[in-house]
Symmetry: C2
Subunit: 208 residues, 2 copies
């Protein structure tokens, strides 16, 4: 239970364990050994045991892991037992797509506001939320205690909006803009750079 100093490599693997355990749970499987899980996921059993042991001894010698229990423990580790308040900034195609995605809601990520500077989009209803003008963003974040901002705007505006977000004491930014945001250490930035993912694919394609 290091709590601090767990490498991002380990963290990035947890959601995948979580997904497999969820599927096992849904299939009604109650226990699983690290070896069985390793064969399912195509990773080493050593890695699974080492990864999990960063957070505690969830298994039992001679038995393995209780699927349900491990599933719940990983949820807690990932903070999925708590709910989060989000705003989506940029109501273009991608912003709308993310706002419409019901699974985030199910996991406790609640989209309370959607903002855009384009007057043509303001007022549009996306699921239960009306797109609001950018001018209302700051007040909204402060008044509604928003944790996470989803940035789906072009990179030029993203840098500027990120500054505003930091001023509003946002805690995390899920950044889809193709730019590296400079924020204080206590603000978390998780980047999704789709074009970089596509370029990686392109590279691997060209080496075939």
């Amino acid at each position: 239970m290091d709590s601090i100093n767990i490498s991002q490599a380990v963290i990035k693997r947890l959601p995948r364990y979580y997904r497999y355990l969820g599927e096992l749970k849904d299939e009604g499987i109650e226990r699983i050994s690290s070896r069985e899980l390793s064969e399912l996921m195509h990773v080493t059993a050593s890695q699974i045991r080492a990864d999990l042991n960063h957070f505690g001894g969830f298994g039992q010698q001679g038995y393995g892991y209780k699927v349900r229990n491990l599933y719940d423990e990983i949820a807690k580790i990932l903070g999925l037992d708590k709910s989060h308040k989000l705003v989506v900034i940029g109501a273009g195609h991608l912003g709308q797509a993310l706002s419409n995605y019901v699974n985030f809601e199910r996991r406790g990520f609640h989209i309370l506001g959607i903002f855009d500077r384009d007057p043509k989009l303001v007022g549009k209803k996306i699921r239960d939320v009306y797109v609001a003008p950018m001018e209302e963003l700051e007040d909204f974040i402060r008044c509604n205690d928003i944790d996470i901002a989803v940035l789906t705007i072009p990179k030029t505006s993203a840098v500027e909006v990120a500054k505003t977000l930091v001023d509003c004491n946002i805690r995390a930014i899920w950044n889809f803009a193709h730019v590296d945001l400079a924020v204080p250490d206590d603000v978390i930035v998780e980047n999704v750079h789709l074009s970089e993912s596509l370029m990686t694919l392109s590279y691997n394609l060209s080496r075939m």
Copy 2:
């Protein structure tokens, strides 16, 4: 110039170098040293030089790198000098968002077809392309020499569709479904698991 056996860690960094070099180029900057670039990107100069040297000696001692030249070389390494033919499978919100994204087109990723099994979406026009029914997918891929399939459908159908794609000799799958696709070694899969990205963010948030 190893050509083969370059680690994915190196590959994943190339698009970021490419982005910074593109910006420098647009600013009219002609040369840059690894040290200058390292300060800009917050990585070590050693890493930049080592990464680039996997692909050739693009620099010049005592001078540094020519921005324009290095930009073009990385484009070639990433296969961005060639054009690619894509189909988008799943015309839901995310499929539409990706189909509408003009920057992919600019980089030579041409979306030639969009498919969905929902009759309500079939016939809908997204930019220049009409959504076609899933029944036409196989013939379309074969007749149009499609390289890349973008999978934006739920995970249950994704596994099955991936099999079809493999049968059609697709070369690469850009997979947005929350599932690990089992494909032969010569088919490339690049995953974008948005929910895993959000969980990573959630983890980091809960440790603050």
